[in-house]
């Protein structure tokens, strides 16, 4: 793979500006556009032009998936890097699959494509961060991040996985990594497989509520 073309940054910056503009449009016309946007089909590229929030009265019963309300906007390169990094953060193990197998990259795309102010801010962090991690992979291993082997992934990620210990030149990348890890884990542990993995066994109707089991009481020293 070639060194990343710096020009790929410019459309991203444009996206941000556009997104901010949409944000204001959304605030003004949310009530009118909300119903229409719920049924909107994601367009292929630049689709976020029509992106508005889900409004103040969305259908709460409906089951949503990324792309249902506003279009997803990752480029192929971003999606590839995101999926790879997701799986470095949450790989498959004996209890559950890897993050990308559960659609987490699509969720992160949904997140950074959302028109709300916090998400617009996160978009900048994530999009720049993904570009950085591919560029760093090229610099160190002359390959895209997604094409590195595990030891190479670790070489990069060990430098950026913990903000307080990151060297000055990696601080910004570490902030990106922290954000990306939160997004990956949030996306992962809200799936049925993720909830099962983490040990959530609720959301089922019960005839009675029995409180903690004897094993739990013993664990906290109250048996």
């Amino acid at each position: 793979m070639s060194t990343p073309d710096r020009s790929q940054f410019s459309p991203l910056r444009m996206d941000r500006r556009v997104a901010i503009k949409w944000m204001f449009t959304a605030a003004a016309s949310v009530a009118i556009l909300d119903r229409a946007s719920l049924g909107a089909e994601p367009a292929a590229t630049g689709a976020a032009k029509t992106a508005v929030g889900y409004g103040t009265d969305p259908d709460l019963i409906k089951i949503y998936k990324p792309g249902d309300v506003w279009a997803l906007t990752f480029t192929d390169a971003q999606r590839r890097a995101a999926a790879s990094l997701c799986d470095v953060i949450i790989p498959a193990d004996a209890k559950s699959p890897a993050a990308s197998a559960l659609g987490v990259p699509d969720f992160i795309d949904e997140w950074v494509s959302a028109p709300y102010p916090d998400h617009v801010k996160d978009r900048a962090t994530v999009v720049d961060g993904l570009a950085w991690i591919d560029a760093e992979a090229q610099k160190r291993f002359t390959n895209d991040f997604a094409d590195l082997v595990a030891s190479q992934h670790r070489a990069i990620c060990d430098d950026i996985c913990y903000t307080p210990k990151a060297k000055p030149e990696f601080k910004k990348a570490a902030q990106f990594f922290a954000k990306f890890r939160d997004l990956t884990s949030g996306g992962f542990y809200t799936t049925p497989e993720g909830m099962k993995d983490i040990g959530y066994v609720g959301n089922v109707p019960l005839a009675t509520f029995e409180g903690p089991t004897p094993a739990v009481l013993k664990h906290i020293g109250l048996a």
Partner: protein
């Protein structure tokens, strides 16, 4: 009589009730059960929790994993429709730009208002809470005492269904037998805080929430609430039988399609509609009250939000229950040459003494709760325990007046975005298989503590009409003036210290920073959504807006039954008291109607 459109209203009604939440719901319920013809006006849309509540939807099935956005400030699945601290097209303003002088005004433009999403925490005010001025010389006394309200607390608890237990604690009233439903068992973290709190002298006891832990006694309660009224008894018994007991899943803030918790739309309005005496007109934004030459209210003018048309509606009596600030707005906008300062405002006190609750919070991570065996902690969709204010005896030593209660939460709730987020400080930044191990270890080990304290009414906290700004309906908007006193910020500092002590007593570590001054930790005014005051009740027409029956001194056939007549805002969440006072006011209103005084 049903939920109607603007063209279907009757030429006149006995009573118009503006608002459909706790105050409006209770008022309409009490009146229509006695045969009074009522028109209820709601500024938001019709809303049916049975059809619209996302009961078992997971966060993964919502946009953005259900996290909060400006469109849905309490998260995607929160029941609130067209509401929040900002409502598009319906602004309010602040008299000051200073961050600490802001008041955040929450509205929910939907049938049932804020009752659909509220925390269901249903605490009685105690005897001290009605006479705060007499106790410490601050604020104001109510013109009524606990004994005046107690019978109505009994009735409201029986009607809506409240779980809890009597604790015998000071100024934390017990309920008579037959009022409360059994409290649910405490969860692991709640039990641990109870055991460790004990060592600090902090009592963790069963909380009271408006959730049916068991089905209501539909065979006996209706006769207690409506003696000598077989029709009302029959209708209420039927409505109670249609409510299921809690099935220990799904958060109450989403609303409840099986009607296991109280919301106006599942508890007050169905039996009220079944009497045939209630019309409900949604999308009706009330602008002002109309008056005749004799100084009596004749009805209201509202905007039909569907058509944008103005409509005049008539009744013998008008009851405002639009939320305390919205009711103030309607009174102040009912201006004429005869009432240049707005209606019911000869005291000049309409809009004065608005209050919220003092709020501050702190979180902790508790190693003892790590790696717990998997078990179901959903419970009643909210708190099972709390800490009532426990330091009445220390009042003189604390450096601030009044007190607060503590609400605690956390544990193994349905994972959201934060399920394993922000754990770097614990994990040293792990990723990969180690991160998955860490996520399993730390899930459920976080607990949060939130203080809810009393604010003393002050001269700097009030609202008036902004001279320039109007909403999209052309109605002049409210302008808020706000200031916490030292009592509130010092109380917030005390909360912070207490929470840190509790977290450490549980063997845990505070997450984030404890605020020693309280000035950073205290939430903005209005953030806790316990907005009360603005039309305070009293014994003297010069010093209050309404009498003890929520009847305005100036206009005999005009009442206010939301939180507006509150003279103080005890640490106890206001909803139960709003309902008790609304029922009491409605009984008085019925009596006055029967006597021909209205």
């Amino acid at each position: 009589m049903p939920i109607i459109t603007a063209s279907k209203t009757q030429p006149t009604y006995d009573v118009i009730v503006v608002g459909s939440g706790a105050g409006g719901g209770q008022t309409a319920y009490t009146l229509v059960m006695e045969g009074v013809k009522v028109l209820m006006l709601e500024a938001g849309r019709n809303y049916d929790p049975v059809k619209e509540t996302p009961m078992f939807q997971t966060n993964g099935q919502a946009p953005l994993r259900g996290t909060s956005t400006p469109d849905k400030p309490f998260g995607f699945h929160d029941s609130t429709v067209d509401g929040g601290w900002q409502v598009p097209g319906e602004p309010y303003t602040s008299a000051s730009n200073a961050p600490e002088r802001q008041f955040w005004w929450w509205r929910a433009r939907m049938l049932g208002g804020r009752t659909n999403h509220w925390g269901r925490i249903a605490l009685r005010n105690g005897p001290y809470d009605f006479k705060p001025y007499s106790r410490d010389g601050l604020g104001l006394d109510w013109p009524i005492s606990y004994e005046d309200v107690a019978p109505y607390y009994d009735k409201v608890e029986m009607l809506i269904g409240v779980y809890g237990a009597n604790t015998g604690m000071e100024n934390t009233p017990d309920s008579p037998a037959g009022c409360l439903l059994p409290p649910p068992k405490a969860r692991a973290g709640e039990l641990l805080s109870q055991a460790r709190g004990k060592k600090l002298g902090i009592p963790v006891v069963p909380i009271r929430r408006a959730v049916l832990s068991v089905k209501q006694d539909a065979d006996n309660i209706p006769a207690k609430l409506h003696p000598k009224n077989p029709t009302a008894q029959r209708i209420l018994a039927q409505a109670m039988r249609e409510r299921a007991a809690c099935f220990w899943a799904t958060p109450c803030g989403r609303g409840c399609s099986i009607k296991a918790n109280y919301q106006s739309t599942t508890v007050h309005l169905p039996p009220a509609l079944a009497t045939g005496n209630l019309d409900i007109l949604p999308n009706a934004m009330v602008r002002e009250i109309t008056m005749d030459e004799n100084g009596k209210a004749t009805g209201v003018i509202c905007i039909d939000k569907i058509t944008g048309e103005e409509r005049t509606l008539k009744a013998r009596v008008v009851v405002l229950a639009a939320s305390s600030a919205e009711s103030v707005r309607i009174l102040l906008n009912s201006k004429s040459t005869r009432y240049p300062d707005g209606l019911a405002n000869s005291s000049g006190l309409v809009g004065k003494y608005i209050m919220d609750t003092v709020g501050a919070r702190l979180g902790g991570q508790i190693p003892l709760l790590e790696n717990l065996p998997a078990h179901n902690e959903d419970g009643a969709g909210g708190n099972h325990v709390y800490v009532p204010w426990w330091l009445y005896k220390d009042a003189s030593k604390l450096g601030f007046a009044r007190g607060y209660h503590i609400e605690l939460g956390g544990g193994r709730q349905m994972p959201g975005m934060g399920a394993a987020g922000g754990v770097d400080a614990l994990t040293g930044g792990s990723y990969g298989k180690q991160f998955k191990e860490d996520a399993r270890r730390y899930y459920g080990s976080f607990m949060g503590f939130a203080g809810r304290g009393e604010m003393i009414p002050n001269e700097d906290s009030f609202c008036d009409i902004d001279p320039k700004v109007r909403d999209k309906w052309g109605i002049p908007v409210l302008r808020f003036h706000w200031k916490w006193s030292d009592h509130e910020t010092k109380q917030a500092a005390h909360m912070q210290r207490t929470f840190a002590d509790l977290i450490e007593a549980m063997g845990g570590k505070v997450r984030g920073k404890r605020d020693a001054t309280g000035a950073q930790a205290i939430e903005p005014g209005g953030k806790i959504i316990h907005e009360v005051g603005g039309t305070i009740m009293g014994a003297d027409p010069k010093k209050s807006v309404t009498n003890q029956w929520c009847q305005t001194w100036d206009v005999k056939n005009l009442f206010v039954t939301d939180g507006g007549p509150f003279v103080s805002n005890a640490d106890k969440n206001p909803t139960l008291t709003i309902m008790a006072l609304a029922w009491r006011a409605s009984d008085y209103l019925l009596g006055e109607m029967k006597k021909g005084n209205l």
